[in-house]
Symmetry: C2
Subunit: 423 residues, 2 copies
């Protein structure tokens, strides 16, 4: 069980995991239930926008040719022959020196080819006539049919997350049923005999299980659904049984803990028992070096570290891209950006390190502020992090003002390309 | 009804709204239901972290004094007297030239004051003895009780959004019940006789209602709960009745549409009918100039424009800070940053404009890319926006590379200070 492990690079590890990527199936839901989903099909316009020539203001629709000679010294009275609230149309044709009162969003009546804003006319005889004293161009103040979007246009690509703007488009184009991706179901098992439940009092040598709850939130944030199988001790048979059950019921499995080389860390043996193929069991990074991934009949089994920080980083680097790809993202990888380090970070290290921190913005620059102790077992700084700085192995640390590589954690866009630490 | 309106600045408008800000009440939920909530109380550590002196590695616990003379040329054999899996403690005391095998996370046994990593020793007699040939300092490879967090420390402040890291802390410190803020209930009414339902086919002069669905998602994103009262036509009595009902059942009300100066836009009259105090009915900005806000017995009534873009911007500027403050945020305002414009934006305008777009990152710089047409009635660009550029009124537009003010839309942090366009 204590075999020698050969670390692979983060880049190789992500590449290996992504060899087993899959796309999800279609799941059509009612419009009212589509929040927080990912589009399985692109959104296409079922009608032009605007759907008809309409008025962008409250005003009066006229024929522009009737205003050709008008100026502040030369006004004409127009007869108000009708009015059009938004949502109504009329069949009357606007004739010479006639006008129709029109509300914002109202359809331009036949005959008219321009609108004058309400504020620019004066009313006469209780509104039966209005006086205009300016020249209007043909088409002035008209929002033309299809000028925003033509019918049939693909507006939003598949894989897009449904934010408020996307929701508005679905409504506009009549998607009373919305084709979503069926999110992956991810089985989650916490292992370790040191683990207490949240409600249990602390006992000597024990800690409360926090990893599975954290990972559960990470899964939801990334776009997956969680099947939680609870926390179990270090009994090998229990773990094998639960893993087999989860394999039948889920698309992927995550275990937390049980991946170190300690004698009670059974995960490698579990993989052997169920005939899963171990893809790697050591990654050249800190935290998270013991991250182990296996595959069984096309399903990935992620063995994340029992250490909270390592568990967190392992999830974001290896599991998130798999979930995003499943949901039809074209940019499944964690999004890398360059940022200026906002204070010295002198610590040298032979391993590639992922340092937690916060992005800050200042006068057009992006800054990275390392958060907290960043000891591998310090959970307190995870809550405040929205980014991870990458310190390549072998460097001597960094100075304030250095441009560093940073991965964004709270980002829906992602990256098409995997971040490559060799660059 | 067509009274003259006096526009106030965006700054004045936000300030006016925030005079009526309120904090939410406490709502204690089970740990498993706390996702997506905001903390009513700070998280405090109920125990030190680590809770006891523990081993960060798989290895052997020893007395450092026994290694004082060791080197690669001078080794000693240590007797392995016991072993400690994570989660267990032992009572045996480690004596001279004795050792206890210890797993990652295991409690340091009495007598020992250092740990040597498993990889650095050689085993003898089937593990009954190990050979050590290096000197260890007192405390070496020990994670000391409380070194990350002392008991009683406030770890996370009230008002914090529960992200995966916060969830981990709640679990670690035994929050089986979590004190959350009771989110505001926001009544939502869509008005306009031109509105069709999502499932209805398009008809002449009509459009499908998209605003209330968009705003509904914006409310959830900002941290509120929605009571949707449906869409109604332009009938004054219906609107008055529904508004009164919503006032009884909700903490705030949002209506979409009905705020223009068109004769069928009844909102000002609704406010008069129910004796609400109109705070303002015109803001010097585009889109969203007709945004109207009233107050009745301390409850705010937001009248957002029926135009999708105006509605969207009005929500983010005026409603979001009220929701965030309610949820105990210290940074309720939309977060402003400086960004470099990534292309010319020549359009001059007498009004302060909010231009939709995307943030981009490049070599440590933040760029702003305007998205789509940005016509006030173009809904298509809202879906792709994660930021709004502010163009102050009276400017002649901007050149590529100019540093511009940008408001972040998909941000949980916010800003303590309101963005001030006078600066």
């Amino acid at each position: 069980m204590s075999e020698k492990r050969n670390p692979i690079t983060v880049h190789q590890a992500v590449k290996t995991v992504m060899k087993w990527k899959k796309r999800g199936n279609k799941n059509v839901v009612n419009f009212s239930e589509c929040d927080d989903g990912y589009l399985f099909d692109p959104i296409c316009a079922d009608h032009p926008v605007p759907p008809f020539n309409r008025s962008p203001y409250d005003g009066y629709a006229i024929r522009s040719q009737d205003t050709e000679l008008l100026s502040s010294n030369n006004s004409i009275d127009f007869e108000v022959i009708d009015e059009i609230p938004a949502g109504h149309t009329i069949e009357k044709i606007v004739g010479k020196n006639q006008t129709v009162k029109i509300m914002t969003g109202g359809a331009i009546p036949p005959g008219a080819d321009a609108v004058i804003m309400k504020e620019l006319v004066s009313k006469k005889e209780g509104g039966k006539y209005i006086t205009i004293k300016r020249k209007l161009k043909p088409g002035e103040n008209i929002s033309f049919k299809g000028e925003d979007v033509e019918a049939g246009t693909e507006i939003i690509s598949k894989g897009t997350y449904i934010n408020p703007g996307v929701k508005a488009l679905l409504a506009t184009f009549g998607y009373s049923k919305v084709p979503l991706v069926k999110k992956p179901i991810i089985g989650l098992i916490a292992t370790g005999s040191e683990l207490l439940h949240v409600h249990e009092p602390l006992a000597p040598g024990k800690i409360r299980n926090s990893n599975s709850h954290m990972v559960s939130s990470q899964i939801k944030r990334a776009g997956g659904n969680v099947n939680y199988y609870g926390q179990i001790g270090d009994d090998l048979e229990d773990l094998v049984e639960l893993t087999q059950k989860a394999l039948l019921e889920c698309d992927f499995i995550i275990t937390t803990g049980g991946v170190s080389v300690g004698d009670y860390d059974h995960l490698p043996e579990v993989y052997r028992s169920i005939n899963a193929q171990e893809l790697f069991n050591k990654v050249a990074m800190r935290p998270g070096s013991v991250t182990t991934v296996a595959e069984k009949e096309g399903k990935l089994l992620f063995g994340l570290s029992g250490n909270p920080s390592a568990c967190y980083v392992g999830f974001e680097l290896f599991v998130r891209p798999i979930i995003r790809y499943w949901n039809y993202s074209d940019s499944p990888y964690v999004r890398p950006v360059k940022a200026y380090l906002n204070k010295d970070f002198p610590k040298a290290n032979p391993f590639t390190r992922f340092v937690r921190g916060e992005l800050q913005y200042s006068s057009g620059d992006i800054l990275f502020k390392p958060v907290g102790l960043d000891k591998s077992n310090a959970v307190s700084s995870l809550a405040k992090s929205d980014a991870l700085m990458i310190l390549p192995g072998g460097t001597r640390g960094y100075k304030k003002g250095n441009l560093v590589d940073v991965l964004l954690l709270e980002d829906q866009k992602g990256s098409e390309e995997m971040w490559d630490m060799r660059k």
